[in-house]
């Protein structure tokens, strides 16, 4: 992308650290990667901080505090190419469950003095606040997709990410469909591939942590799943989970709520 080693910055917002850890978990590739790029800002890995601007910015986490709301704008300004890393950054993540409730009530459940805290009512994806150039979904991300994204940028090409649902990964793995064969509720048909379909291969349904597949037919899937509910509200909670604030999952869960209200 440039004639010099690209300067890369890794930032953390509201998150669990697991997606940045995926970079450090590239044990076989880490030293090679460190040779190909200039790690200019990555607090989890190094004290060295080189000043911006940066060629690539990688952002983990969602926007959930007034401070983060300001900081993401600064990050955008100092990075030429901005990657939203992981489901917190692309869909708000698990903490975006607060968007469906009164956050103050949640705060009282944890803290004796919610008045000491500074937080926003919502936890929202990066793209709601600034322009994002590439999204890598996953809770956590697949580390090889992160390596592929960086390699693609270095080679001036589009990253080669899967464009199909988790179902195809099950077929490729030879995993018998947990939904059809065992009646286990599974979000796989509506979920973006990338994880390797690890939940079905462990005998359980997909819980949608890689976010909705862009061709998901939730109108068809939701009633099918609901008919399989093992506890009341199971399908609703499956949709309103790690990727619950992603528009299509959000809408499908809202539809179930409306139906119940009627």
């Amino acid at each position: 992308m440039t004639d010099h080693k690209p300067k890369v910055a890794v930032y953390k917002f509201s998150s669990c650290d697991g997606c940045q850890l995926s970079l450090l978990n590239l044990e076989d590739e880490l030293l090679e990667l460190a040779g190909a790029i200039d790690i200019a800002y990555f607090l989890e890995a190094t004290r060295t901080v080189k000043p911006g601007p940066y060629d690539i910015g990688i952002v983990e986490g969602s926007i959930s505090t007034p401070h983060e709301l300001e900081r993401i704008k600064e990050v955008r300004e100092e990075c030429k190419f901005l990657i939203a890393l992981g489901t917190c950054a692309t869909a708000g993540g698990i903490q975006a469950l607060r968007n469906f409730t009164k956050t103050e009530d949640l705060a009282w459940a944890v803290y004796a003095h919610p008045d000491y805290l500074h937080y926003l009512e919502t936890a929202t994806p990066i793209a709601e606040h600034v322009k994002v150039d590439l999204e890598i979904w996953g809770c956590p991300v697949n580390k090889y997709m992160v390596a592929e994204a960086i390699a693609a940028l270095l080679q001036n090409r589009k990253p080669n990410f899967p464009q199909y649902s988790v179902c195809l990964e099950c077929k490729r793995n030879g995993t018998v469909c947990v939904l059809v064969a065992h009646g286990i509720p599974c979000l796989g048909p509506a979920t973006q591939a990338g994880c390797g379909a690890i939940c079905p291969s462990n005998g359980r349904g997909c819980y949608g942590c890689y976010g909705p597949w862009n061709q998901a037919n939730l109108e068809a899937l939701t009633p099918t799943l609901e008919a399989l509910d093992r506890q009341p509200g199971e399908t609703f909670r499956l949709l309103r989970n790690f990727s619950g604030y992603a528009p299509s999952f959000r809408k499908a869960a809202d539809t179930l709520l409306d139906k119940e209200a009627k």
Partner: protein, 429 residues
């Protein structure tokens, strides 16, 4: 001499926060670890979720130690239902914990703390001068991640743990295939113990009250009683009668103290000091060879305790895999009923306590989670007071590094504790 020392942000920790040290007349008059890692309210949104979702959701508190959150959560809920997992499932849970200890401790020893002891800003810089050390370190860490993936599908937020056991027995062959690497890892870990004892740690001895799970028959991780070096021995159910959380103004993480008001230490030093007798032989032999004396009371030397634990867990992992012969179903059938249950396990950073109240449909009505770093935060502040007389005599850069290093030696998981570290050392005039 008056001075202001300010470091933009503390590096090589998990999560973000800030540190303020006010020095006056050769002493610290104020120490504050400011946690500005955003609050995420896990205990709030766990309410109304089905109990089987808890291990998946609580894993997301921390990407470095998700297994700990899954184990404490699952155990607490099993206690609420009055069930206990099969011995084979229990052994597999210990194996999963072995894997998490290996990857988390290897990350901390080599990538987070060792650069401080070897005068480097990061392990990547260290790789330029000691490539073999870093290559072996990455291999040691990778084996933990591979083992975790073999059991749980992936190393961060694994998917196989459920209330009642596991969704599916992992394939014995995929575990046995890792044995040659684990054997290499055990030898490398023993060498790491010897190496760890030779590093130039800053001098600091603290008369700690240290607290960890203790079990007479095993190096306590999931089962056991909560033991303190001051003599207190409580069941996990009694934990909250003595260990109390408090919300302080400068922190998005809660702070813990004992009922008597003292601060206490959890983590590798506490475990090793209390549970040396339960270590596997290779780890004990490595300690003997390295002439490591207990109790270890220097917070910087928690690296040594981590190295010993890595050796222990490599040896234990090998033993569990060799004995692994899964039979029957991997998880118990759950009979839902209303109840309350607590569970504790030893996360790599220390004791992690969960308590839940569930209704007769298995929905969570109440959740309480006390992570290790919330228990250690007041202790870190107190250690920094003890370090202050040394800081005053040091050059600016050295003082800053020594204080930062102390915080890092705790391997604080700030993401956990809140469910950013900005360091500011200044002399108050």
């Amino acid at each position: 001499m008056n001075r202001n020392i300010e470091v933009g942000a503390l590096a090589r920790v998990e999560g973000e926060g800030g540190l303020f040290i006010g020095l006056k007349d050769g002493k610290a008059v104020e120490v504050r670890l400011d946690i500005y890692e955003p609050p995420r309210f896990f205990e709030g949104f766990l309410r109304g979720r089905f109990l089987q979702e808890v291990p998946d959701i609580t894993a997301r508190i921390c990407g470095i130690c998700p297994v700990a959150y899954q184990m404490s959560g699952a155990t607490a809920l099993e206690n609420a239902l009055g069930i206990e997992v099969s011995p084979q499932a229990y052994a597999l849970r210990r194996l999963m914990y072995c894997a998490e200890y290996i990857e988390s401790h290897a990350l901390h020893i080599y990538l987070l703390q060792a650069p401080d002891l070897l005068g480097q800003p990061s392990a990547l810089d260290l790789a330029a001068i000691a490539p073999d050390v870093v290559r072996d370190a990455l291999r040691l860490k990778k084996i933990g991640n591979q083992l975790l993936k073999a059991i749980g599908g992936r190393s961060v937020h694994p998917v196989n743990v459920c209330v009642g056991g596991f969704y599916r027995w992992p394939d014995a062959k995929s575990l046995q295939e890792l044995l040659p690497e684990l054997e290499w890892g055990l030898e490398a870990a023993k060498a790491c113990v010897l190496w760890s004892a030779t590093l130039p740690y800053p001098e600091l001895e603290i008369d700690y009250e240290y607290v960890a799970l203790h079990h007479p028959d095993e190096y306590a991780v999931i089962k056991g009683e909560v033991w303190s070096s001051k003599g207190s021995q409580l069941t996990v159910k009694e934990y909250e009668t003595r260990y109390i959380e408090e919300h302080v103004r400068h922190s998005n993480a809660l702070h813990s103290h004992t009922a008597e008001g003292g601060h206490y230490l959890v983590g590798p030093l506490a475990r090793l000091n209390l549970n040396y007798e339960q270590l596997f032989p290779a780890a004990r032999q490595a300690m003997h060879d390295a002439n490591i004396q207990l109790p270890l009371l220097n917070p910087y030397k928690s690296l040594i305790a981590r190295a010993v634990e890595v050796a222990h867990y490599y040896e234990e992992a090998i033993a569990i895999i060799k004995a692994y012969q899964p039979t029957g179903t991997a998880h118990l059938e759950l009979r839902l009923k209303a109840g309350e249950g607590s569970g504790a396990s030893e996360a790599p950073r220390g004791l992690l306590y969960h308590r839940y109240i569930i209704d007769d449909k298995g929905l969570v009505q109440f959740a309480k989670i006390t992570p290790p770093t919330a228990q250690n935060l007041p202790r870190i502040e107190e250690d920094l007071f003890a370090l202050a007389p040394q800081l005053v005599t040091m050059e600016h850069e050295a003082a800053t590094l020594t204080a930062e290093h102390l915080v890092r030696a705790y391997d604080p998981c700030i993401s956990c504790a809140t469910h950013f570290l900005k360091l500011k050392v200044e002399e108050i005039i």
